[in-house]
């Protein structure tokens, strides 16, 4: 069944009539090749508007980050690209950003949780188009790409490095390139090899012994390291997918072009923007609302439940590297997201970021800690809508749905079609 897979599909006579009508019109319009008459998919005005809004070509250029004044400079981008794959930026000399965000693997690692010098507690996130969202990480505890880049460097499970070690690395290996962008590096005379506010006990004590001026100068160079990496990451973009080619063809009336998706995939697309309710949160060219939701995804470690967004708001507000902080290049008025952050939303308990669905089929396992191995499991989760251990799931429960939202009900065939559609969202990421 290829022509009409809408919610009205139960009306058999109507469907038969539609089939006959469409078949007749296809014959009439393509008399020279009637046997290979291309499938014609019919979309309502509302559907067409939704399809148009999902096109990658509708994505604006990456928004300027006023907190990173160098992000567009080619020298900053080139420096960031080198730093991104430099394993010296780690405790054991073996972990770079690219170790987990592997460029040849869509900038991720395929693991349930990240593995750096230790084992993390959340899934490695993709990098392409990350700068389009106001909050970084699964819980949004960072408010810029450059501030985000600093987190893993000092995380004991990721790079496990420390602040003076990293600035010394800049001095030893990147001095000329750094100074071309940011001006002179600080003197590290008398500064211990390993010191930082988030390190081991020894490193924290060494950090506390530095003067305020020393700490400030090192912090600034550390922030600039993040700004370089962010400048490079900002250039990583998604490429067109089969879905984009299909939607462009459907919108322009290009019948041959519409054959780039199979009838099953088109059926999945109808479900995606229709009764499967995916496009509620998966909207716009990146197929994300850039927000946080609790959908009852099982806790990876029930003994230590992950509170997600609700535990991250205070972190980003207090972060010395946030938009309002002294290492930001933005004025106060440019920090709207932070100034108007929803700090007390009870719906954020156990909520995690909606990642882009672009390239999703290349990016299992799924959810914030790789809880589901396959897209089939993901779709089954939304249909099952389990009870949550923490907070409140936004999904309605079958039989006793919210007043606001209907439960998601899909047959096996529909679930398979939805998964087939999700696999059409792959494109190059570079």
């Amino acid at each position: 069944m290829t022509l009409e897979t809408s919610a009205r599909a139960g009306a058999a006579t109507l469907l038969t009539a539609a089939l006959a009508c469409v078949a007749a019109s296809a014959l009439w319009l393509a008399p020279d090749d009637a046997r290979a008459a291309p499938r014609v998919d019919r979309w309502s005005e509302g559907d067409r508007s939704t399809l148009a809004s999902m096109l990658l070509s509708r994505l604006p250029a990456p928004p300027a980050d006023p907190s990173n004044a160098v992000e567009a400079r080619p020298e900053a981008i080139a420096l960031g690209r080198r730093l991104f794959s430099d394993t010296r930026l780690s405790r054991n000399g073996q972990v770079s950003c690219a170790s987990c965000h592997a460029p040849e693997r869509d900038f991720q690692d395929g693991l349930p949780v990240g593995k750096g010098v230790g084992t993390g507690s959340r899934r490695t996130m993709p990098i392409a188009a990350a700068t389009h969202g106001p909050w970084l990480f699964w819980d949004g505890r960072k408010d810029s790409l450059w501030s985000q880049a600093l987190g893993p460097l000092e995380d004991s499970a990721e790079h496990g490095a420390n602040r003076t070690q990293l600035v010394r690395l800049l001095q030893t290996h990147y001095r000329a390139d750094y100074e071309r962008v940011f001006g002179p590096l600080p003197s590290l005379q008398g500064v211990p090899a390993h010191a930082g506010p988030l390190g081991t006990d020894d490193e924290r004590q060494a950090w506390a012994r530095l003067s305020g001026e020393q700490r400030d100068a090192i912090n600034r160079a550390f922030a600039n390291l993040g700004k370089s990496i962010a400048s490079y990451e900002r250039t990583v973009a998604y490429g067109e997918s089969r879905f984009d080619r299909y939607a462009a063809a459907a919108l322009s009336g290009d019948r041959a072009g519409q054959q780039v998706l199979t009838s099953q995939e088109v059926g999945g697309l109808r479900l995606f923007i229709g009764k499967a309710q995916c496009s509620t949160c998966r909207n716009g060219p990146l197929l994300t609302d850039q927000h946080f939701h609790n959908t009852g995804v099982p806790q990876r470690d029930p003994a230590r439940p992950d509170r997600g967004r609700s535990a991250a708001v205070a972190k980003v507000q207090q972060d010395e590297f946030n938009c309002l902080g002294k290492y930001s290049d933005a004025g106060r008025d440019a920090c709207q997201e932070l100034r108007f952050i929803a700090a007390d939303d009870p719906g954020m308990e156990g909520a995690f970021k909606t990642p882009s669905l672009r390239n999703v089929a290349e990016r299992g396992p799924y959810m914030h800690a790789g809880q589901f191995a396959s897209l089939e499991e993901v779709v089954a989760h939304y249909v099952r809508s389990p009870k949550v251990a923490l907070g409140h799931s936004e999904l309605a429960h079958a039989g006793k749905g919210h007043a606001e939202r209907a439960p998601i009900r899909l047959s096996d065939e529909e679930a398979a079609a939805l998964v087939a559609f999700l696999k059409t969202l792959n494109g190059p990421s570079r």
């Binding site: 148009a52 509620t280 949160c281 850039q290 709207q336 100034r339 952050i341 939303d345």
Partner: protein, 156 residues
Amino acid sequence: MNLSPLLPGALRPRISSAAAAALASALLLAACATPADLDVTLQHASRQGKFVVLMEPPDTGPAVNQMHAWRIRLSAPDGTPVSQASMAFEGGMPQHGHGFPTRPRVTRELAPGVYALEGMKFSMTGWWDMRLAIQAGDASDTAVFNVIVTDSGIRR
């Protein structure tokens, strides 16, 4: 400030019971259907008639996920601007059970009776409500507004 106690259910969306029944069945097909007779006027009296409120969106848009500001013009029923009012804001998507992705606030009075509502952001298309709790002098009242957000901004 939680406005919910100030805003009884009858006030929130202005929908008749017949429309509500129609809405309920429509929701079975499409969770995002917007009630047909939703009051989307941006100027009307507050609930008890103590104020007249005009909500002014930006001239164009705003795009989904774009941070922006509104102006609120607050006046007495006779049209006199009301200065030095304090207004608490809440809102969200009634059909999705979530609030704004940001915490919008009335930040300052720009001119007599004209207030800036900053930190506004619609994270998706559809029906959003905006609820004000207004306090000026001895008078307090509430007002509710609805907007339909489309891919090209607020439906006007």
